[in-house]
């Protein structure tokens, strides 16, 4: 490391300038590709200080415990009954196979259902207000005067918007898969359920986070952004449900932000009512929500990169 030209204390009337034997930094610098991870790490750390995030995490842990106990009981019961004097001996092979299939379907469904409310609350707290809060605090100047591109900023915000919800959902999925393995499933079946569950969780959180950030990029007011996000999730669900029932078109019910992922999970479980070309509608709806929201946020950030610095 090279030393600076002079280390003598500078003259300052208040003595504020301290001599630190300052040396220039000559060590390695990490690639700008690491920027999203840095943004996410600091944001996740700061989010943990918010009461809403703590409450949502506690609710999530409570629900995880309840669902794990309930599902464990459900899956363990047939094994206990079939092995007891009341069970009438061993189960027939087809019956057992059906039970295993249903159990794996349960993993997907229950992971999403158990953590929907906490995941929604976490994305609401961590994502829907994220860009608004940055706009309000002048954080765009902070980011975009450094080697941070709008795309990397958005990637970092996506990770931080969904980080805690992802951790909670994956913990739930892991617990349920371990229970499956303990009571009914084979290692391969449990691994399959874990893989599909991971995909389902990622699909749900990616679309929710993208929409939360898209909405957040529209306004400096954090509360307004959160209200808009909540309205899109719940009002959208009610609207498309009602419309689908009114015109008797089941595919319309899969167009909202939440139902499109649910419908895809049903397709994973082979119990979707959509057939033929309609089967692609939930995936298309998911794509439109996610890509549309990301494009909106990206466009707003590109403008902000220039105008806010």
């Amino acid at each position: 490391m090279a030393t600076s030209p002079s280390l003598k204390p500078a003259s300052s009337p208040a003595g504020v300038v301290h001599s630190l034997a300052y040396t220039r930094y000559a060590g390695p610098r990490r690639s700008p590709a690491m920027v999203p991870l840095v943004i996410a790490r600091y944001a996740l750390m700061a989010q943990l200080r918010q009461r809403g995030v703590k409450v949502a995490l506690l609710v999530g842990l409570l629900l995880l415990t309840i669902f794990a106990a309930a599902m464990g009981f459900k899956w363990a019961l047939p094994t206990i009954v079939s092995g007891s004097a009341f069970g009438g001996g061993a189960m027939a092979a087809p019956q057992l196979a059906e039970m295993v299939r249903e159990g794996e379907a349960d993993v997907l469904t229950m992971t999403l259902r158990a953590q929907f409310l906490p995941a929604f609350l976490l994305v609401l707290w961590c994502g829907a207000g994220a860009i608004s809060a940055d706009l309000m605090a002048g954080a765009f100047q902070f980011h975009f005067s450094r080697p941070v591109s709008p795309a990397r900023y958005l990637a970092g915000r996506m990770l931080s918007a969904s980080g805690w919800a992802l951790a909670l959902s994956m913990a739930t999925l892991l617990v349920l898969c371990i229970e499956r393995l303990a009571f009914q499933s084979t290692p391969l079946g449990a691994a399959r359920a874990f893989g599909l569950g991971t995909v389902a969780v990622l699909l749900e959180l990616t679309s929710m986070s993208a929409v939360a950030l898209g909405v957040s990029s529209l306004t400096r007011r954090k509360g307004l952004a959160q209200a808009m996000f909540a309205a899109i999730v719940f009002a959208g669900w009610v609207l498309f449900r009602s419309l689908g029932a009114l015109i008797r078109a089941p595919w319309v019910k899969t167009l909202d932000l939440v139902s499109c992922v649910d419908a895809m999970v049903s397709q994973f479980n082979h119990d979707s009512p959509l057939r033929g070309a309609q089967a692609a509608i939930p995936a298309l709806a998911w794509l439109v929500w996610t890509a549309g929201a990301l494009a909106l946020a990206g466009w707003r950030l590109s403008r902000a990169e220039v105008n806010r610095v």
Binding site: A14, Y25, Y42, F142
Partner: protein, 330 residues
């Protein structure tokens, strides 16, 4: 008020200073233009910012912000070349931003982060490893005078503490070139003095060149040694501060004991000794004198001796930067 003795022609529209050694040049701009729809924000701007402390001056709308955005690679110039620390920001904007620091005028912090976290975050964004980032965050905050307050969230800080935090965040990744936008805005006199001391020290101790954008010209006179003035998108001055102030043009301000009946004799003696002299507009008994040899004021002493006047003040004439600035803009 006009500033007598300031020959603005010397500094206005100075040609590109290619004589400045490349190693000492931090920012070089050649024929840079940037046009928005119907508006020319920068018009054929050519300037060179050397090592040291440079002031970037100009009225609102002069093009300072657009120039800064071009430097950061946020805005693509319509025409011309720009080179920051040897890098073309159009080709590698992130590379430029990793090596420069920017302290914005407005608040620029992140909600819920303390000053230490904010600075460490800034350092990590610039590519420093986490351990090094936290070490340098503490050092930078100590340097700007934030002690135990560094562990408090920034949104609760006073204006002075926020300014210091912004400065620490701008220098934490060890930039080679630092842009400061109105760093003394909103500070009380003591805090302003401390901020200016820090800015002066940055160059001396950290080897960091500084570009200071401000409307407070007294700050510029305190800490800068080079001045670039923009007006309506054009460069109207790009010169060392002493040239802009008129120092070195061979003029002296002479004040004598106010004995009116000897003034005429003093003026005659000055003329006889080859000096040009004009009465100062500021006070009776003062003259602005240019001796035949700019570095030798001895004829003034000789004239005073001949006219039997008592010299009470003799110094090289300099205009205030306010006067020079207004004259340049006019």
């Amino acid at each position: 008020m006009d500033a007598p003795g300031v020959d603005v022609g010397v500094v206005a529209c100075a040609p590109p200073r290619d004589d400045v050694a490349s190693a000492a040049v931090k920012l070089r701009v050649r024929s840079l233009s940037r046009r928005y729809e119907g508006v020319t924000a920068l018009d054929d701007v050519t300037l060179t910012i050397p090592e040291g402390r440079t002031a970037l001056l100009g009225p609102n709308g002069a093009g300072k912000s657009t120039l800064l955005k071009c430097v950061l690679g946020l805005v693509r110039p319509t025409a011309g070349d720009i080179e920051v620390l040897g890098i073309d920001p159009r080709r590698d904007p992130l590379g430029v931003r990793a090596r420069i620091g920017y302290m914005p005028e407005d608040d620029a912090h992140l909600p819920d982060l303390t000053a230490v976290e904010l600075c460490a975050y800034g350092a990590e964004l610039a590519g420093l490893p986490p351990r090094e980032a936290i070490d340098r965050a503490h050092a930078a905050l100590f340097y700007v005078g934030l002690d135990d307050k560094r562990y408090m969230p920034v949104q609760g800080y006073s204006t002075g503490l926020r300014q210091r935090t912004k400065l620490a965040a701008a220098i934490v990744h060890d930039p080679e070139l630092l842009f400061l936008d109105e760093p003394t805005n909103g500070l009380d006199p003591a805090s302003r003095e401390e901020m200016l001391s820090l800015i002066a020290d940055l160059r001396a101790r950290r080897g960091c060149s500084v570009v200071l954008s401000t409307h407070l010209l007294a700050d510029v006179e305190r800490v800068c040694d080079h001045v670039v003035v923009l007006n309506a998108g054009k460069v109207v001055a790009d010169a060392p501060l002493r040239e802009v102030l008129g120092l070195g043009d061979g003029r002296y301000l002479v004040r004598v004991k106010p004995v009116a009946e000897r003034f005429e004799a003093f003026e005659r003696a000055l003329r006889d000794l080859g000096c040009e002299s004009d009465p100062s507009p500021d006070a009776r008994g003062e003259w602005i004198v240019r001796p035949s040899s700019p570095d030798d004021p001895s004829p003034i002493w000789e004239a005073a001796l001949r006219a039997d006047v008592q010299v009470r003040h003799l110094a090289q004439r300099k205009a205030s930067l306010d006067e020079a600035f207004l004259r340049l803009l006019a």
